[in-house]
């Protein structure tokens, strides 16, 4: 299997879907002539021309809405936010017009649109530019929220997102664009709502996705090496729909659960998963569910503060040790 970068996997997914369906187009800031602020759309302008790979002015509300309108007549826009922090300028389009059109019109309109871009902190961009928007968008009925962890998932899930008849929020992470992984040469799609077991283990379940999943994997390796603790890592891959069955199955086996996210803990994704897990596994839990997340503060600039706020492998490992009553 060829090994490619995360950003190339996304690029391939978009190109293949644009080859397949003339109604697919990409719009966003610096996506065309600049080849993408993070080079995800490299070469696409040359290949598809300026009507299908479109540079927008800095008008997020405008071009997000343009996407929704075009989708209402059957086009399949891919709207790139340079980061999802800027999607907040277009919040109304993303949380009202996109997800509620079908419902409000009694099913007359579908909105097959993908909003994609980076989400997350860690680059010292300070409070306004460091949003992790997982929970913000997973809160909204009518939206689907997808977070790939590997290049393989990035490609398969993005192709599914583009073909989906509903709006999909597709969350990437800047720090992962250069990561390499095996991606099949032949075409494939991956379903939403189907979790992946990233690591098997019998002592504690960790639910983690995207960049947080990489943190969890590092923690799991450390726990294995240092203490023989075997964590099982469940990566839901889509947060809405959420594959609670696979998570619950694992928790029934391990008897405890740690959630890892890079967003705020209050009303966060971990809180939602914890609520659903205790509904399904109340009698199986030997310890309360532990949420690991960002500290509950706006993201600071200074590296020493930032590193304290964003959860690292150490904090995940500590949480797992607590959950399994490890006595060091």
């Amino acid at each position: 299997m060829p090994e490619i970068q995360f950003r190339e996997a996304l690029n391939q997914a978009m190109c293949e879907e644009m080859d397949r369906d003339p109604d697919v187009f990409l719009i966003g800031e610096e996506v065309a002539e600049y080849d993408g602020a993070y080079k995800v759309s490299q070469g696409m302008l040359a290949r598809f021309g300026p009507m299908r790979v479109v540079d927008s002015p800095i008008s997020e509300a405008g071009f997000a809405g343009l996407g929704v309108g075009a989708a209402m007549v059957g086009m399949r826009p891919i709207v790139e936010f340079m980061t999802f922090s800027f999607s907040l300028v277009a919040f109304d389009q993303v949380v009202n017009n996109a997800p509620k059109m079908r419902y409000m019109s009694g099913g007359q309109f579908k909105v097959p649109i993908v909003f994609r871009g980076i989400s997350g902190a860690g680059q010292q961009l300070a409070a306004t530019h460091s949003w992790t928007v997982d929970a913000l968008y997973a809160h909204v009925p009518g939206l689907k929220v997808v977070v790939p962890t590997t290049p393989y998932e990035a490609k398969g899930l993005l192709k599914t997102a583009i073909r989906d008849d509903d709006p999909v929020i597709f969350l990437e992470n800047e720090a992962m664009y250069g990561h390499r992984g095996e991606v099949p040469a032949e075409e494939y799609l991956l379903p939403f709502g189907q979790a992946d077991i990233k690591r098997e283990g019998s002592h504690c379940t960790i639910v983690a996705w995207g960049h947080g999943c990489l943190t969890a994997m590092a923690a799991a390796e450390q726990l294995h090496k240092d203490h023989g603790i075997e964590a099982e890592i469940i990566d839901p891959r889509s947060l809405r729909p959420l594959d609670i069955e696979t998570i619950a199955e694992s928790v029934k086996k391990t008897g405890c659960c740690v959630t890892v996210e890079e967003g705020y803990p209050t009303c966060g994704m971990g809180a939602e998963i914890a609520a659903q897990v205790q509904e399904k596994c109340f009698d199986d839990l030997d310890h309360h569910i532990i949420r690991v997340g960002s500290l509950d503060v706006p993201m600071p600039y200074s590296k020493v503060l930032l590193n304290h706020v964003v959860p690292g492998a150490q904090r995940v490992a500590e949480a797992v040790k607590q959950a399994v009553y490890f006595q060091g």
Binding site: E29, E30, E33, Y34, A37, D55, P57, I58, S59, E60, A61, G62, S85, F86, V89, Q123, Q124, L125, A126, A127, T128, H129, L295, V297, P298, P300, Y301, S302, K303, V304, L305, H308, V309
Partner: protein, 338 residues
């Protein structure tokens, strides 16, 4: 077209003023070059947008307003902060993420603040601060104060909804605000011609929002001063807001990681021939206020000043990790004692 000031009312800046502006511009330039170096050394993180080439805009315009006037700008804010008199050490400390930084290490390059100096930031969301300028202007009018707001933003910001809502409000309520677009030709890698339906930016406010527009050459510090002085008088007289299109140019990339494939070296070199510092230097030489040795002495002095600020900032302590909890709220429980 409105006339801002009668020719007879024009005040010629004094030699001392012009020398001061020359120093300020030279200081900004050396500060920015220090930043570029410190960024390479990874003392600075995140996004860092340099002001090199645009120095005359902040220096000439801020010189024309009073310390009591309000200033607000976008993320390319180093030049404005220095022109406002914030000291290099507190700015570098901020860039290095230190507790002694002007925002205590919470803000970084894009979020310089100084309440005492009426410097209201440093804002990273494109055009997100333009409505704030309207709020500042509203408060001035409400309290019947003798102040104006000087609000800077880039050409790219004019394509945001927030900008247009703000301009309409300012026009409607006749608020004392000078809206100053620093048109440096590009929003990131996108030329104005590829982003704006109308290329002459001042046309986008006058008829639309009842805010008269003016043009000024942003590479000319003296022209910046004169225009802003007249604009401030207009606002103070209660006529409402003004819009000034400043034509300028940034020599460096948009931020520290910009391959700049969207323009040629020749284009940059062409603008450098009209360098704002060189231009004022010529004026001062003609007036016998500067000669080679004075220029050298000034540059040496500024270099020493920036380097000292750098060393102090570099040696300053980082914030304590528990400081992350500070300043989230004034009081989480509101005006109650628990």
């Amino acid at each position: 077209m409105i006339t801002l000031v009668e020719q007879s009312q024009k005040v010629e800046p004094s030699p001392a003023q012009m020398m001061d502006w020359y120093r300020q511009m030279a200081l900004i330039r050396q500060f920015e070059l220090r930043c570029a170096q410190s960024y390479q050394q990874q003392k600075i993180g995140g996004f860092c947008h340099l002001y090199v080439g645009q120095e005359a805009v902040a220096v000439g315009s801020i010189a024309a307003v009073r310390p009591s006037d309000y200033i607000i700008t976008a993320y390319r804010d180093h030049g404005h902060a220095i022109a406002r008199g914030m000291d290099c050490e507190s700015l570098l400390a901020e860039l290095y993420g230190k507790a002694s930084g002007c925002s205590h290490g919470k803000g970084g390059s894009m979020h310089f603040f100084d309440r005492e100096k009426n410097f209201f930031g440093g804002h990273a969301i494109v055009a997100g601060h333009v409505p704030l300028a309207v709020g500042l202007g509203w408060a001035i009018k409400y309290r019947k104060e003798d102040r104006v707001v000087l609000c800077y933003f880039g050409d790219g910001a004019m394509n945001q909804g927030a900008f247009h809502e703000a301009l309409n409000l300012a026009g409607l309520f006749k608020l004392p605000i000078i809206f100053m677009v620093e048109n440096n030709g590009y929003g990131m890698g996108t030329h104005v011609q590829r982003a704006s339906a109308v290329v002459e930016l001042k046309l986008r406010t006058g008829d639309a929002y009842g805010i008269p527009g003016k043009h000024v050459d942003g590479m000319d510090c003296l022209a910046m001063y004169e225009m802003t002085l007249a604009a401030a008088q207009y606002c103070r007289a209660g006529h409402g807001a003004l819009f000034i299109e400043v034509k300028t140019y940034r020599y460096r990339g948009h931020s520290m990681s910009d391959p700049q494939k969207y323009r040629t070296r020749e284009e940059v070199a062409g603008y450098q021939e009209h360098d704002p510092i060189g231009r004022l230097e010529k004026v001062l030489r003609a007036k016998n206020l500067l000669d080679d040795s004075k220029v050298q002495a000034i540059n040496n002095e500024i270099h020493a000043h920036v380097e000292e600020a750098h060393h102090r900032a570099d040696a300053a302590p980082f914030p304590q990790t528990q400081d992350v909890w500070k300043d989230v709220y004034a009081n989480p429980y509101g005006p109650y004692q628990l």
